[in-house]
Amino acid sequence: MENLIALLIAAPLLGAAVLLVGGRRLDAVGHWIGTLLSAASFVIGLVLFAGLLGRDAGSRTLIQHLFSWIPVAGFQADVTFRLDQLSMTFVLLITGVGSLIHLYSVGYMEHDERRRRFFGYLNLFLAAMLLLVLADNYLLLYVGWEGVGLASYLLIGFWQHKPSAATAAKKAFLVNRVGDMGLSIAIMLMFTTFGSFAFGPVFSHVGDTSQGKLTAIALMLLLAACGKSAQVPLQSWLGDAMEGPTPVSALIHAATMVTAGVYLIVRSGAVFNAAPDAQLAVTVVGAVTLLFGAIVGCAKDDIKKALAGSTMSQIGYMVLAAGLGPIGYVFAIMHLVTHGFFKAGLFLGAGSVMHGMNDEVDMRRYGGLRKYMPVTFITFGLGYLAIIGFPGLSGFFSKDKIIEAAFAKGGTEGWILGGAALLGAAITAFYMTRVMLMTFFGEERWRNQPTRSPEAPSAEPAAEHRGEHAEPHPHESPKVMTIPMIVLAVGSVFGGAFFSIGDRFLHWLEPVTGHSEGNSPVSAWTVTGATMVCLVVGVAIAWAQYGRKPVPAVAPRGSLLTRAARRDLLQDDFNHVVLVRGGEHLTRSLVYVDHTLVDGVVNGTAAGFGGLSGRLRRVQNGFARSYAVSMFGGAALLVAATLLMRAV
């Protein structure tokens, strides 16, 4: 059965190769090839899953060794895959949600002449992401890690003719590279410490080294996770990444790739468990990001950017949980999976709305859409209820557990983290209600509104087919798009309950991640109650602001905080002033230095010799008599020297 693991990756990789190399001949069928191979991977995943279920919990780890990748003295990197409960969970999430989104894209990208290429990139992404979660050593994981970065780069910048998309893609790749630096340093540290960077040897020898080293490794892994999962301080790329087509935002920037950081931390649990300082840093990053993302999400009028803020915030929850150690690992992954369902569903819903609205993204130009798009409304609404943690839906189970675990950390830290998580829940309820109300309820603000205002240029070039300034005619999307939305909505409704009843998910993952029950200072019911209160407060405030009163079609100036949040809490401005400007000055002055100083020395030497020979040339003045003088002078000198030598 192990031999099937490589096929998981091979199927989408083959798709990517065929679609990208195949050229225009495949334009007509390309999207179906891509979808089929993605589904094939999902089926293989299901087969493997059934196989794993057939074994007892202790022996559910499959290893497939393919070949020796980089054999150099003392340095062994192999292409070896590890399929255990953790990676199996990811495989199913990636291929399952991935296949649904492939299907959705068939409809969504219908009018794009480069659709074949889009599917090629999507397949490339799947292959890289599967490699990431199936790798058995950190270096191979790194290949997948950068591979998803590349796919993300290609897909964010898919509409390359738009400078904003190209810039966003570049930014995403660069910020991710900063994180990758952390991963490569972590691998180097592992190599010098353990002489290996394969999971098995590293995890089993964690106890043999100093805590300082482990903390350093763990912090570097955290840096990597921050880059990939858009955590503070490397979060700035995610909002801009919404320049990509909406299916991309759903698959890569909501459900799968951005959660890779959480995977990395949970996978490296053994290292983090032995480095409490690093764990504290993880929880702090998670808590700060969950608030940061939530606040940003409150202020955005662009539906995708609001959802992006929400993604950031939800991943903050997962990172927070992962930082709590064995108490939280399982719940981090559980939230990751349920989030994969509902956030992908929400994004697909947003895409469906945009599809029906001439690709308008500004929620202030939406309103009252529930009548026109019933399926989208219902699926989006279920996703909404799931994300805010409505009792009984997915988000309720997974988020609640994380908040509990945060309190259970104990001490002041526990109270602060738990409080932050609770506050985050309230803000989540607020901004998601805001999105819901602005989009599906209230006045129909799109009437008599030409779309494609200069501030919000169309994200989708398909709009060109439908005329630029026509009033939008909201309509429901085709079946090929709504079916994935319905499936995901079902997942977001029942997923949490399915996982939690009888602690199924816990028992499934426990052999890999370990689990411990903490001593919470507050009872589980108190936490649930507090969460519910927060939820109600959040929804109520949002209703008071956006439900009761009409929403202005032009954004009001807003408070200082709102304005800062619209600008991503000024982080981009900081980056611009310090990194971009500073970098420009640095490179410009270095170019100057290279030209004048380094090359100046070279050219100066040449000029010096030139000048010297110019001087010496004057001696050759052409007067025979002056040559004669020098001859006689020389002869006299020689004679004198000879005599002198004789005398001595």
């Binding site: 980089i70 003295a73 570049k170 490569s184 040897p201």
Partner: protein, 523 residues
């Protein structure tokens, strides 16, 4: 006596050069084909060398040795170790692509131009360079090496000075002046390096009494040849200076951007992917082999210079407006990695450095040749003159992107393997330097992606709107390179197997052992 395979591998392109030059001017297409066939035959010979080479066998194989200038102990001695074999194969592999990519680069200019471009000369010079580069990879006699190390400057000089990009925004006069400047700078800079090396070569003879690399290294190892510490250091510096100019290492790098900017793309590939490799190769073979103690003495300074090269080259690449200059500075950054790997004195570092030489050759060739195709279409080297090429020429843009991704060492492509090995190898012994060098990967992403964004994406500029996509000849050049980049990124074992034993020997030359990990978890 066995068949002199190494001599033939070098002699074939040399004879080919003569034959190509002798083709009458009217039959210039025949000259091109002749050059191509000769280069392919050389490739076949190089592959034979590769196959005949036994990685587990003696250090130097396929050796040939004949007396030459007996009075001075100069011998005609050839032999290859794993590193030499890899580089001979790289050279022989790249030359056909260079010839094919430069197929029209030396065609006569339009009527009315006063410049004379000898088409056959262009291809003959390329083959001449190939012959000399191959010989310098094969020579195990210091004097013999020195001769080819210096002699290859002459054909290179004519290639840079005589053949530039066809179109130029400032007109032919200015272009010609700048080209001469670049060619003279290249020649003088390298001659100065060579002169200092010559002094060191003579000094070595005075001390050792012969020029044979193997004999001297053996005598040093057994203690029968004693060198005073200061003598060894001076001789080392003499050799190293020449190699550092050729490599090039900061701050001796300024000839490279000029030379690459002014020459045609295939010649630029020849400079950076082939000729410059002789510098780094010679550091491994001669500096470390002949002067192990002095190499260790100089290591800290060289590592710092290499680190500066890495960051400085990358930062300057970001600031360039000329595409070819950008690639030149990127290469300076990459050479910094190679030199760092060599002098980190670990197996991973040196294997990585050797692998890096091969991979850098492939990745730079891929990127630069596509850049050449791009420039030949628009007639400008300035980044600002392009935009939106992706829309009109998607295949060109795609290959350009892959070349760029290889340059930024994306995992899955060959350069990643070598770059990571160099970083790990450096980190195990010098953690601080390893960490700072890692910054290079972020900067590499910056200059590559900025270049890609400015030239390929965005709205289509009117001047590029009629740009044709890659032609068949151009695809034939790029596709195999890309395939190799991917193959060696996924499965570098064939190369590492050849390189590893040679690196082990070099490590024992310098009496260095890899640092042990704190915990032996791998066992």
């Amino acid at each position: 006596m066995s068949f002199p395979l190494l001599t033939v591998t070098a002699a074939l392109p040399a004879l080919g050069a003569v034959a190509t030059a002798a083709v009458p001017a009217a039959r210039r297409t025949a000259a091109k084909w002749l050059a191509l066939v000769v280069s392919l035959a050389t490739l076949a010979l190089a592959i034979t060398v590769l196959v005949r080479f036994d990685p587990g066998g003696a250090r130097y194989q396929l050796t040939e040795s004949h007396a030459w200038i007996a009075d001075f102990g100069v011998r005609y001695e050839l032999g290859v170790d794993g590193i030499g074999v890899a580089l001979v194969a790289l050279t022989a592999l790249l030359i056909p692509f260079i010839i094919l990519a430069g197929w029209h680069d030396a065609d006569p200019l339009e009527t009315g131009s006063r410049r004379w471009r000898p088409t056959q000369g262009f291809f003959a010079l390329i083959l001449a360079v190939e012959a000399m580069v191959v010989l310098s990879f094969e020579a195990t006699d210091v004097f013999l090496f020195y001769i080819f190390f210096e002699a290859m400057l002459i054909p290179m000089y004519f290639l840079i000075g005589g053949f530039g990009d066809r179109a130029h925004e400032h007109g032919e006069e200015t272009a010609s002046t700048q080209r001469s400047y670049a060619a003279v700078k290249f020649l003088l800079y390298n001659l100065v390096g060579g002169l200092i090396m010559l002094a060191a070569v003579i000094g070595l003879y005075v001390v050792a009494g012969n020029f044979s690399l193997q004999e001297i290294a053996h005598a040093r190892a057994t203690g029968s040849l004693h060198m005073a510490t200061s003598t060894e250091r001076w001789l080392f510096l003499g050799f190293f200076f020449a190699f550092a100019v050729k490599a090039p290492l900061w701050p001796l790098h300024t000839w490279l951007p000029n030379a690459m900017q002014e020459s045609t793309a295939p010649v630029a590939v020849l400079i950076t992917a082939v000729v410059d490799k002789v510098g780094t190769f010679a550091m491994l073979r001669f500096c470390l082999g002949l002067f192990p103690e002095a190499s260790k003495w100089a290591t800290p300074v060289i590592l710092v210079l290499a680190l500066i090269s890495i960051l400085y080259g990358a930062l300057l690449a970001v600031g360039q407006r000329d595409i070819k200059r950008l690639v030149a500075y990127a290469s300076i950054s990459h050479f910094g990695f190679i030199i760092m790997g060599i002098f980190a004195m670990t197996s991973q570092g040196q294997s990585g450095a050797t692998l890096y030489m091969v991979n850098h050759g492939l990745s730079t060739a891929a990127l630069l040749l596509v850049v050449g195709f791009l420039i030949s279409r628009r007639g400008s080297r300035l980044i600002a003159d392009y935009g939106g090429v992706q829309k009109v020429a998607p295949v060109l843009a795609g290959t350009f992107l892959i070349g760029g991704l290889a340059t930024l060492s994306l995992p899955g492509l060959a350069p990643f393997v070598s770059e990571f090995l160099v970083l790990v190898g450096t980190f195990t012994r010098y953690p601080a330097i390893g960490i700072v060098a890692t910054l290079g990967i972020v900067l590499a992403a910056l200059y590559v992606l900025v270049l890609y964004q400015r030239t390929m994406t965005g709205p289509v500029k009117p001047q590029v709107s009629a740009m044709p996509d890659l032609r068949v000849r151009e695809l034939v050049v790029v596709a195999p390179l890309i395939a190799l980049l991917i193959f060696l990124g996924v499965y570098p074992k064939p190369v590492t197997d050849i390189v590893n034993p040679a690196v082990k020997q070099t490590m024992s030359d310098v009496h260095k052992k890899d640092p042990k990990p704190e915990v032996e978890a791998a066992k």
